[in-house]
């Protein structure tokens, strides 16, 4: 579990611990080393201070996990950051933001995947990789005439009668680096799902909308309006989604991006027809 000291990641870690898993958690924050952060006994949780965008740190986290637990059955790529970025930003600001946002959200997930995948393959007993992304990227960029969901598309107001507000995209356009980093995770999810199917390793993405997390509270300068706060999804519901996904086991879905956003229930949607991967590519 990456990025588990606060927010959604912390709820994920606690849910895993409650379900009997041993959990190795990394975070930039020192609190990750304290089992009390997870309401856990010390022998069940392993905390490592690490920067997920640093390959040496990633290797150290995986080495710690292997020496502590001996095996890895699931990887939850959760660590993420956001910054306000705009297409008219200066080059120096962009380069600084690129290192922070793309480095953490995309390079971090790639590095953890590449560090864990060979070990999961060697263990020979399958496993799960779950990439945590954003609902920005499943609000659909599909050319309308080939959209396989048709009237079922939850975002097509005319066809589905969806009554919610129009879906704003990409943080109002002020999160382009965040969107770049998160949409790119689709590429990792689908490529890994195809390649790892023969090894019974499932790879899925959970695309979270606004959730009462440390990141979102930071976005609102830790002073959200009561209306905003009430609209947010709960980390406990997000954690239930993750546990329901893991509970499916080796015969469950793979290569899918599940959406949870305001206006829809925060729960694991049924496995849907493959959109981005042909069924035969992962069969």
């Amino acid at each position: 579990m990456t990025g588990g000291a606060v927010g959604i990641g912390n709820a994920y870690a606690q849910a895993l611990l409650t379900a009997g898993w041993q959990v190795s958690v990394c975070d930039l924050r020192e609190a990750v080393e304290d089992p009390a952060t997870f309401n856990s006994e010390p022998d069940r949780v392993l905390g490592t201070i690490a920067d997920v965008s640093d390959p040496a740190d990633v290797a150290r986290v995986i080495d710690n996990t292997m020496s502590g637990f001996g095996r890895i059955d699931a990887l939850v790529n959760n660590a993420g950051v956001w910054r306000e970025t705009n297409p008219t930003d200066s080059l120096p600001k962009t380069l600084d933001d690129f290192g922070a946002v793309v480095g953490t959200n995309l390079y971090g997930e790639f590095l953890f995947g590449r560090a864990v995948i060979p070990r999961m393959i060697e263990q020979g007993s399958g496993g799960d990789i779950v990439n945590i992304a954003t609902d920005h990227m499943v609000t659909c960029g599909t050319p309308w005439d080939v959209c396989p969901r048709g009237p079922q598309c939850p975002f097509d107001r005319a066809a589905s009668g969806f009554q919610g507000p129009p879906r704003p995209t990409g943080g109002g356009g002020s999160m382009d680096l965040y969107d770049i980093s998160k949409w790119a995770l689709n590429g990792l999810t689908y490529a890994w799902a195809k390649a790892l199917r023969p090894h019974n390793i499932r790879v899925n993405a959970i695309c979270m909308g606004a959730t009462d997390s440390h990141m979102l509270r930071g976005f609102h300068n830790h002073a959200p309006s009561p209306e905003e706060e009430a609209s947010w999804m709960k980390t406990s519901d997000a954690a239930e989604m993750l546990m329901d996904l893991l509970a499916e086991g080796p015969s469950g879905r793979t290569g899918q991006a599940m959406n949870a956003c305001i206006g829809r229930p925060c729960k694991l949607e049924p496995a849907h027809t493959q959109l981005y991967v042909r069924d035969e590519d992962i069969a």
């Binding site: 995309l106 599909t142 990409g170």
Partner: protein, 244 residues
């Protein structure tokens, strides 16, 4: 005279875009880090050799660009096989070569040139990406493709979405062309390329590009692959909010 910049101009697609834009009356700057870009010789096209993924070489391009710009075509990018069985060090090398390089080659010229599109009172950004980012729907996708490369292609759609939203009030239209493999020496040399996968012609994609920059579409992913019409279709009623 209208002005355009094409990145990745030395490749099969980039060359076709430069030619089509010049034929449509544009004054074109074609940039590529491949010195063979200099072999483009056609009235209206100025080839520029520089590495667009490196901020210290951007000035080579921006110094040649006028204060206003009408069209930016982001076509630069590289491919390399990156099997999951490769070593840790090879993973790190691939990250730098494919993902970092492709994202920077999209981002840096865009950051440098978007203010000139805005100063122009509007214009078009067209980002090139793969049809693999569109639903498979029974169509063949590149089953064996590199995870790093595929991530870089999806990243393009994130940029398209965010920029279309942000730049709407500045009248800058931003769309993605999501295309199947192009028949070119590059694709034919790929070690893991699926040769059963049909290919399309660069000149046909260039025709689509010209239609796109003559339209008012924004925030759209335009798909083009074998068997699909190479012409624009009417946009769907927007289910997303594109605001300034």
């Amino acid at each position: 005279m209208k002005r355009a910049v094409v990145t990745g101009a030395a490749g099969a697609l980039g060359r076709a875009f430069c030619n089509a834009l010049a034929d449509s009356g544009y004054q074109v700057l074609g940039a590529d880090n491949d010195p063979s870009v200099a072999s483009i010789r056609k009235d209206g096209i100025t080839p520029v050799c520089c590495d667009l993924a490196r901020e210290d070489q951007l000035a080579t391009l921006t110094d040649l660009t006028q204060d206003t710009l009408d069209v930016l075509v982001n076509c630069a990018g590289v491919y390399r096989a990156s099997p999951l069985s490769e070593s840790w060090q090879a993973s790190l090398d691939g990250l730098q070569e494919v993902l970092d390089n492709n994202l920077r080659a999209l981002l840096l010229p865009s950051r440098a040139l978007i203010p000139r599109l805005v100063a122009n009172g509007g214009g078009h950004i067209v980002n090139l990406t793969s049809r693999d980012v569109l639903p498979a729907n029974g169509q063949p996708t590149n089953g064996a493709c590199s995870d790093l490369w595929l991530a870089s292609q999806w990243a393009v759609n994130g940029a398209t979405d965010a920029w279309a939203t942000r730049l709407a009030s500045a009248e800058v239209k931003v769309n993605a062309l999501c295309v199947a493999g192009i028949k070119s020496p590059l694709t034919e040399a790929l070690p893991d390329y699926d040769f059963q996968r049909p290919l399309i012609k660069a000149a046909d994609v260039a025709t689509l590009l010209i239609e796109l920059i003559n339209s008012d579409l924004t925030g759209e992913n335009i798909g083009y692959w074998p068997g699909r019409t190479g012409h624009l279709r009417p946009p769907r009623a927007r289910h997303r909010q594109i605001t300034g």
